[in-house]
Subunit: 244 residues, 2 copies
């Protein structure tokens, strides 16, 4: 099963301190871009793959989603998500996204924020998601950008003239990457952008929008530490639809 | 108009010595991947944007294309292309891809190899190409990969442990890049992968395949100097179709 790093106490403690954990959706700098790729949620059934603390599930209900299913592998995150709502139209379930099942044709939107780069078996997941969507149903997700996940040593290099560069290697060498982020040995799956996009096409999705996210000028003005993120995108955001 | 670097004598002399100039399509390592993205050419009308010496135009006729229009900004390249064939179904014309026109609904395939990264006005070009295709018509093209074009100083860094890394910066900062390749001050337009893909979607194309090309093992065995290209892809190959 997926490495359940979120239930590692040190990782969970660190993750709980991030802006996106404390401030929810608005604590994530890429959220405005991801939100802009979503369809009208009114009346939609939604599944959130890797729902974490459930911020998106609750927000989706506020915007009129008919029912929301939040899936996560982390007991600790689900526990907190459940404590945050008494809405009977939000249901949380523990699921390993490597081997979960969903009822066919039952959702208008599948959403996932920064979870799919932990998943090894993307083809299986996309088969499940496609079948779980109604024809024309939407899939909107974010992952760590392949330029970000590729390097053997991910971290800025300061050049002689002071520029900061991101040392890409292994971009076309797909597979696991072990990084130390909040805890030692966090395993992510590096795959190319082409891999993500062709997998969607092969599984019966039409691509709608592909966003290599970086902060805009207003965001950099408010948070100057984000400026480096324009040197290489940290996140890849994709919107697709089930074709038929 | 486009910088017509191919008519620069030093550039032209250098370009004429490349494997892809001497050996044609088979002299380009990415050709097998690009060829695999083409539709059946039998009976198709084809336009080749940036046809160079006309290798693709002649090959397409051999595979049964009904007629081929090769466009290029370089007089020198067109001169040689014209000298290489007496086929009346191949026509060559000088065109600046920033401001050319094509007859509407008259081609089944628009093809372009390593030309569109010289073009500043991609939206105008895609409007022209879309209108020139029949509904369902194909667009298959290659460009230098955005990871390749982004850096201020494109070139390998040798790390302390001997690994070679590609120093990405400015990836999200689109616009011209001046590089010295065969001649000084060759201007290319850096744009993100997302930019290419979203422009296609916005102009009425459906995406079919996105290939971040690198050499396969057999190619590296035959030409070990290609191995570095797996560290970061040199080319981006895209197949799309006019939707309706």
């Amino acid at each position: 099963m997926t490495q359940n790093i979120y239930d590692n106490p040190a990782f969970f403690a660190g993750y709980s301190q991030l802006g996106r954990s404390i401030n929810g959706l608005d604590g994530a700098a890429e959220w405005p871009a991801l939100r802009a790729m979503l369809p009208d949620l009114r009346g939609l059934g939604i599944v959130d793959l890797g729902c974490g603390f459930g911020w998106f599930c609750r927000w989706a209900r506020q915007l009129g989603a008919s029912h929301v299913l939040g899936l996560d592998v982390s007991e600790k995150m689900l526990e907190r998500a459940r404590a945050e709502t008494s809405d009977a139209a939000i249901r949380y379930a523990r699921a390993d996204l490597e081997r979960f099942d969903l009822p066919a044709g039952s959702f208008g939107l599948a959403y996932s924020s920064l979870a799919l780069h932990y998943i090894e078996h993307l083809d299986r997941l996309l088969t499940t998601v496609r079948d779980a969507l109604v024809p024309g149903g939407h899939l909107v997700f974010s992952v760590e950008h392949p330029i970000y996940t590729a390097p053997a040593n991910p971290g800025w290099t300061v050049e002689a003239d002071g520029r900061r560069t991101w040392p890409v290697d292994g971009y076309l060498v797909e597979g696991p990457r072990s990084t130390d982020w909040l805890a030692k040995g966090v395993i992510k799956q590096h795959r190319t952008m082409g891999h993500y996009l062709n997998a969607l096409l092969r599984h019966g999705f039409a691509l709608e929008h592909v966003e290599e996210w970086g902060p805009d000028e207003a965001q950099i003005a408010a948070r100057p530490e984000l400026a480096d993120e324009r040197q290489r995108p940290p996140f890849l955001l994709v919107a697709a639809r089930r074709k038929d």
